[in-house]
């Protein structure tokens, strides 16, 4: 899992956030092969700002709650972690508070898989998609939807500065059931 400091989860509440984003080696960003869309946006603060690696730019919604961010993949992918950058100090009433993450095959059968409440977050907030069962480390899905149900201080619209989605690395050797772990096997497993 990603390292998180000053996190206290009491019934799904997350306080604070990290300044630096540190992700484990066995995860990789999945969002490049995805189609991103949002339920509404203010001109100039559109969906591209969520993926531009720039923490100064943000997406601002412009409609009724809940605000939705949809991430659609071309095939079923395994996802493990969703990371948001939000900042209460900068955005105050625009900072999201209650977030629901849903997954499914498409808009018609999304099911909520995670629900959290952020309390004055300042930085990167990691939302793990794993269940308690070790078999449920990943969510295997076509689509992910991040729904902002409410904001701090009852704001109507919301700001999110960056979103990243992580999943496990694929096996570098194609068509093999398991990945190799020992040096002897790894040395002979590929040419370069």
């Amino acid at each position: 899992m990603a390292t998180e400091s000053s996190e206290s989860e009491e019934e799904g509440k997350i306080r604070g956030g990290n300044d630096k984003l540190i992700i484990e080696d066995d995860l990789r960003e999945m969002s490049k092969n995805a189609a991103w869309s949002v339920s509404s946006c203010k001109p100039g603060n559109g969906v591209t700002t969520l993926r531009d690696d720039n923490l100064e730019t943000y997406w601002q919604s412009d409609g009724l709650q809940p605000h939705l961010i949809n991430i659609q993949f071309q095939k079923k992918v395994k996802l493990q972690l969703v990371v948001l950058y939000v900042d209460f100090k900068l955005d105050e009433s625009y900072t999201p508070s209650k977030i629901s993450i849903r997954a499914g095959d498409g808009f018609h059968n999304l099911k909520e898989i995670k629900s959290v409440e952020l309390v004055k977050p300042t930085g990167w907030v990691c939302l793990s998609l794993s269940g308690t069962d070790p078999r449920e480390t990943f969510v295997n899905t076509f689509m992910l939807q991040i729904a902002i149900l409410s904001n701090h201080l009852n704001g109507r619209d919301t700001h999110i500065r960056q979103i990243k989605v992580y999943g496990p690395r694929p096996n570098p050797i194609p068509r093999q059931p398991f990945q190799f772990t020992s040096m002897e096997f790894l040395t002979y497993s590929t040419l370069r």
Partner: protein
């Protein structure tokens, strides 16, 4: 004035003052426009890396020399068609390729870059027949896969060729000296100045070629001018003094010019032959080796040998006491040329006469001369035979043979950068990364400035997962030369090891920018694209690598892997087959070929391939694993289990082996063993997705167990 200017230009060229040389050459050309002066200006431009200027001024020239220079400029500017037309014989021109061996080599390169493989092979072979010391032509033939045995190429025919060229050279030497006496001193010095060879260590080999100008000039001879700007005004009696000046620079020049020195024309020009002899020694080595020999040489008191041994040429490194003759000979040539560089024709005549005297003085010396000549040539050819053999074996991927051949070298020669890199590459191709590591480390420590082969070294470190050392190497290489593609390849490998594939890709692209024809950089780019799962990009990169060098089997392998990922199994099979054709000893490729066959449902062939892989490289544990996998998927659990049990002995720490055993025992309904292996598999730190898989399998296992228990109850 013409003379003065010409000498000035020559001197500037020899001392690397290129802009000065260009300036004066322009004045010279303006005052005395002539073909010769034009060629001199072209040389100045080429030395100053202004191939475009040389191209423009030489356009349309007809003399062979100009054509060669023009072709060279075209080559530098990547105008391959024009280069070819310039080099090919036509009716109104001489009916052979200008520049002799050098011309053929250049033409071979042109054809190679244009993708005309057979023509290029032909040209390289011709270059070698003209001049057996044209080592680069042999290298190119090896990399095209069309090299003949080193013993034939550097054998008796070569021996005779070298002998006769050297003998004619010697004869010309004396005649030439006479001629010099007779001709107008001004003109003589002017003309000879044109044929001076410069040695610019910094520039690449092809630039140097240009300086070894073949002679189809009438009588005048080529000289070797030491870049060590000698005081050129001393009259002849001071010869002995001059001799004592250290020849290391000569040899350093030779070192660079070496590969090129051999490119000098074989017709005409006595001194060319000397340089060939010298370059023969330098040809396959680094400066260190030569300096050892030079040091040996220098010890011999030159003064006494000069008079008598002038024509004796002992080239054997071991017989240091016989060495002076060659160097003294070279000195004399140099002095000759330097004398002629001065405007005094008098010195020429002096030297000419002194040479004559030498000749006359030593009629009895002729037989020792020829015997020493013979032994010299045979020494050189022996060395070339070994190196050529080794190199050819390496590029045919007969790595064991290559290693054996290289062992035959003397310790001095073995410890040179080129040979060490070759040995390292041989180990690398055998997947013996530890030995490769030690060899490359040695090479890098001894020669931190030599970057050739360091990209392979970085790959070795990548395989060994030595992050720190790789990072350190990358830093060192960048600090040595920021503009060399090898350094950027090392940096890219460093990032790739840290799984930062985007940055790695950027670095490899930089390497490509620096040298479009650096095949390995393209392949590495392809690997990075594949790691980022951008298979289109990967394919593009691999194909580009293959368009540069069809025999780069890594790229074929990469393509095969890409197709495996994309599940295009027939395509994958085809690529792996091609890769195997080039490198038939690679067990890794055989394994993947087997996997592709299995996926295409050709299971028997797949199993055979795994057997073959096992036999090829006994140290590789993977063929057994893949074989077990195939057997398991075919339902043959007992055999699979047997194979895996064996494998477990060899590689007890491998989680995937235990995971597979767990599955097999589950199928065989041997639940205790299955559970045992389940536990071990999880203990051995599999990747998270694997851990999930294994646990999922376990769940399915537990339920039948519970059912059984309930029944018993």
């Amino acid at each position: 004035m013409e003379n003065l200017l010409a000498n000035c230009v020559e001197k500037n060229l020899s001392q690397f003052m290129f802009t000065n040389a260009i300036f004066f050459c322009e004045r010279l050309l303006a005052e005395f426009p002539s073909e010769v002066n034009l060629q001199l200006l072209a040389r100045c431009y080429l030395s100053n890396s202004q191939a475009y200027s040389a191209y423009y001024i030489l356009k349309g020239s007809k003399t062979p020399q100009s054509r060669y220079l023009f072709a060279f400029s075209c080559f530098k500017l990547d105008l391959l068609g024009e280069a070819e037309t310039a080099l090919l014989p036509s009716e109104d021109n001489v009916d052979e390729v200008p520049g002799g061996a050098a011309g053929h080599y250049l033409l071979g390169l042109v054809y190679r870059y244009a993708g005309r493989k057979n023509s290029s092979i032909e040209q390289f072979r011709m270059a070698l027949s003209f001049d057996p010391l044209c080592w680069e032509a042999y290298r190119e033939l090896c990399s095209l896969g069309a090299a003949e045995e080193a013993s034939t190429v550097f054998g008796n025919v070569a021996f005779q060729r070298l002998q006769e060229t050297f003998v004619t050279q010697r004869i010309n030497f004396s005649e030439g000296a006479n001629i010099n006496q007779l001709t107008d001193s001004d003109k003589a010095s002017r003309d000879t100045s044109l044929w001076r060879t410069e040695h610019v260590p910094g520039e690449n080999q092809q630039d140097l070629k240009i300086r070894q100008l073949g002679a189809d000039i009438p009588p005048d001879t080529d000289r070797q001018l030491n870049t060590n700007g000698w005081d050129l005004n001393t009259p002849s009696p001071v010869i002995s003094q001059v001799l004592d000046a250290p020849p290391p620079l000569l040899h350093k020049n030779m070192l660079r010019s070496a590969v090129e020195g051999s490119l000098m024309s074989v017709h005409g020009g006595r001194r060319i032959k000397f340089s060939e002899e010298m370059s023969a020694e330098a040809t396959e080595g680094s400066g260190r080796r030569r300096s050892a020999r030079i040091a040996a040489r220098k010890k011999i008191p030159m003064s006494q040998s000069f008079g008598k041994d002038s024509y004796r040429l002992h080239l054997s490194p071991s017989e240091s006491n016989c060495v002076p003759s060659l160097s003294s000979m070279i000195e004399k040539c140099r002095i000759q040329s330097s004398k002629e560089a001065t405007t005094s024709g008098q010195s020429i005549s002096d030297i000419g006469s002194s040479v004559d005297d030498e000749e006359n003085k030593n009629p009895s010396e002729s037989s020792p001369d020829s015997s020493s000549l013979i032994s010299g040539i045979s020494e050189v050819l022996n060395l070339l035979r070994i190196l050529g053999d080794g190199h050819r074996h390496l590029l045919m991927y007969n790595c064991q043979e290559a290693l054996l051949v290289y062992q035959k070298l003397s310790l001095k020669q073995y410890n040179t950068h080129w040979v060490l890199v070759q040995v390292g590459k041989a180990y690398f191709e055998l997947q013996d990364y530890f030995n490769a590591d030690s060899t490359f480390t040695l090479a890098h420590q001894k020669y931190p400035y030599a970057l050739e082969g360091m990209d392979t070294y970085s790959t070795v470190l990548y395989h060994l997962k030595e992050e720190m050392r790789l990072g350190y190497l990358a830093q060192e290489l960048i600090s040595v030369d920021r503009l060399s593609p090898e350094s950027w390849c090392a940096v890219g490998n460093c990032y790739s090891l840290r799984k930062d594939h985007d940055s790695a890709l950027k670095m490899f692209k930089r390497a490509i920018q620096l040298n479009e024809r650096f095949t390995y950089a393209h392949t590495l780019c392809g690997h990075e694209f594949a790691a980022l799962e951008d298979f289109e990009g990967a394919e593009r990169c691999y194909r580009r690598a293959l368009s540069i060098d069809t025999r780069h089997y890594n790229a074929w392998y990469g393509l095969g892997m890409t197709y495996l990922h994309l599940e295009k199994f027939e395509f994958a099979e085809h690529q792996f087959q091609l890769a195997l054709k080039i490198n038939p000893r690679s067990s890794v490729i055989m394994c993947y070929y087997g996997i592709a066959l299995h996926e295409s449902k050709k299971n028997d062939e797949a199993l055979n391939m795994m057997e073959k892989a096992k036999l090829t490289d006994a140290k590789n544990p993977l063929p057994k694993y893949y074989k077990a996998n195939i057997l398991a998927s075919l339902g043959d659990y007992h055999k699979a289990q047997k194979v895996l049990e064996e494998l477990k002995e060899c590689a007890p720490q491998e989680s995937s082996v235990h995971a597979l055993l767990f599955n097999i025992y589950k199928q065989l309904k041997l639940y205790d063993k299955a559970v045992l292996h389940f536990g071990t598999a999880l203990d051995l730190n599999p990747s998270p997705s694997d851990a999930v898989k294994i646990k999922a399998y376990m769940e399915r296992l537990v339920i039948p167990d519970e059912l059984a228990m309930e029944e018993n109850l």
